[in-house]
């Protein structure tokens, strides 16, 4: 696997020289491998949103470097618009960016800006609509008469249609009901599998992050606290809790069992895994006694 995103001493300070000056991102060094499904967690104000806006060049760092596919994105030879096509960014509550009078046109906005032929635009719109589960007849409707969850999927499809190699989403399931959350997470995974893309997503739900990602980036106070696989990250439950980040409920229960002297081996952070481990434990102890 090769590294697709790399940052070097990335630092960003808001309102430099004003009384509101604040360093939002401090000396961040990360390397993200191709094909990873990376969850980003951290408090509001930990620098998550600022970090991801750096990765497609919407914010220029105060100091440090960002490399996408090995290219320094602020190098004079690099066109920042090309980087934005390579790194798709879906903002929080993206349904608020919808503006066209049909779903088709709105999804087509990105690919059109990239200068593709009409046929290619059509192919991309249809394909991304399919990934997010929008029916062909929905494409002709006005996006403003759709439900909240459908609008959200139109907006996400609008970025997917640009077929970015790296797809970044800021809390894509915020405010949705459990079923809606599940659907969108599955669709994001589908995009990654179909296009061999790398996905980064910010989430406040530890349960979602635990089930869904291959790597987790934990941010604290503008810096990186750790970047590792879910078991390793949730293995540091006490540190995360001290930071005020909730670990999944299931992990908290398992940690209490551990404290009471019942050692279920492995770091448990999903319900299915917990059930499996409990059964194994019971089997082992029954055969012993």
């Amino acid at each position: 696997m090769s590294t697709v995103i790399k940052t070097e001493n990335l630092t960003y300070t808001y309102g430099l020289g004003t009384p509101f000056e604040k360093t939002a991102v401090k000396d961040v060094n990360i390397e993200i491998e191709e094909g990873e499904l990376c969850g980003i967690i951290g408090h509001t104000g930990s620098g998550k949103s600022t970090l991801i806006q750096h990765l497609n060049g919407l914010i220029k760092p105060t100091s440090g470097h960002i490399y996408i596919d090995g290219l320094d994105i602020w190098d004079k030879a690099v066109k920042i618009r090309d980087i934005r096509f390579k790194v798709g960014l879906v903002f929080q509550y993206p349904e608020y960016q919808i503006f066209e009078d049909t779903v088709f046109k709105d999804i087509a906005f990105g690919p059109k800006n990239m200068g593709f032929s009409e046929d290619e635009v059509k192919r991309r719109v249809e394909e991304s609509a399919e990934i997010v589960g929008l029916k062909p007849e929905t494409l002709l409707r006005s996006p403003f008469e759709l439900s909240g969850g459908q609008k959200r999927r139109v907006a996400i499809a609008g970025v997917m249609a640009m077929e970015p190699k790296i797809l970044i989403l800021d809390e894509p399931v915020a405010g949705l009901d459990p079923k809606g959350r599940e659907k969108i997470l599955a669709q994001i995974k589908r995009y990654r599998d179909q296009k061999n893309a790398t996905v980064l997503l910010i989430s406040h739900s530890m349960e979602d992050v635990a089930r869904f990602t291959t790597k987790i980036l934990v941010m604290e106070g503008g810096g990186v606290f750790c970047y590792d696989t879910p078991p390793k990250v949730f293995g540091r439950a006490s540190e995360l809790t001290a930071m005020g980040l909730a670990v999944p409920q299931i992990t908290r229960v398992m940690n209490r069992l551990k404290a009471a002297g019942i050692e279920l081996d492995g770091d448990i952070y999903t319900v299915e895994y917990a059930a499996k481990k409990i059964n194994e434990y019971l089997l082992k102890h029954k055969s012993e006694s």
Binding site: R84, Y96, Q97, F99, F109
Partner: protein
């Protein structure tokens, strides 16, 4: 960035200026404007400048903020200055082809630049030191005689206050929508006038849609909190005039006199 705009912002504080009755502050601002426009010479502007300086000192608002409030109007000042310098008749100082610079042109331009800068710096103090609610209450109170003429004074001040409340929210939202569309490859920095106007559509439509839905929700929330117009409403902070308010009016009138006199005598 849009977030850097300071005009119209309120900086909470406890200074003498903050505590003045908002109605009086509006009247004083009017007197201040008269001060600046009664003067036709640089010297005549001195009382107005001194008055502004005095108010800044009393308000404890950092000087830096004043400079910041002037920044957005620099292009306007420069533009009008250039027009005045080149197109005003009078004693010619310099001539190149059809372009000429006159003594009167320069003098008038200097007066005008000082006047506009002082005007903006001074009037900004009104919003810097007065909470938007007091300001709108004051407008309502000053306009209340017009109620008899069926003029919707309360509604007007309510609208003003809601507008002030939502300006920062909508600015933030505009920033966000712009970023989102840029991420979808919208090109807002290049192209001709028509292209740029067209590039605004993806920003303006979402902004209007969201502003409308905010307005609907806000109206609902207000109704749930028993809002039924201006009839029978009371206030958390009633406007009370005190001795210091009248004193402030007197001081500003003195400065107005000084401005008129220096202009006449010197």
């Amino acid at each position: 960035m849009l977030k850097d705009i300071t005009i119209g912002q309120f900086f909470p504080g406890e200074s003498i200026l903050h505590r003045l009755d908002a109605r009086f502050k509006i009247i004083i601002t009017a007197i201040f404007i008269a001060m600046l426009f009664s003067a036709d010479s640089v010297i005549g502007l001195v009382p107005g400048i001194l008055f502004t300086a005095l108010c800044y000192a009393l308000s404890k608002i950092p000087f830096r903020l004043m400079l910041k409030s002037l920044k957005p109007i620099i292009p306007i000042i420069l533009f009008t200055s250039v027009l005045n310098i080149f197109f005003l008749d009078g004693v010619v100082l310099f001539r190149l082809g059809f372009i000429k610079i006159t003594y009167d042109g320069i003098e008038f331009t200097i007066i005008m630049m000082i006047r506009i800068a002082t005007l903006i710096a001074g009037t900004s103090l009104l919003t810097y030191t007065t909470s938007p609610i007091s300001l709108t209450d004051a407008v309502e109170s000053l306009l209340s005689p017009f109620k008899k003429l069926k003029f919707p004074v309360h509604e007007l001040s309510m609208m003003m206050s809601i507008a002030l409340r939502f300006i920062p929210t909508l600015i933030e939202e505009t920033d966000k929508i712009m970023s989102a569309q840029k991420a979808r490859g919208a090109d807002m920095e290049s192209g001709g006038l028509l292209h740029r106007a067209k590039a605004l559509v993806p920003i303006l439509i979402p902004l209007f849609v969201s502003a409308f839905s905010r307005a609907m929700e806000l109206a609902l929330a207000m109704e749930c909190r028993c809002y039924q117009g201006g009839e029978g409403r009371t206030r958390l902070k009633e406007l009370h005039s005190r001795g210091s308010d009248y004193l402030a009016i007197c001081v500003s009138l003195l400065f107005l006199n000084a401005a008129i006199l220096t202009d006449l005598l010197l």
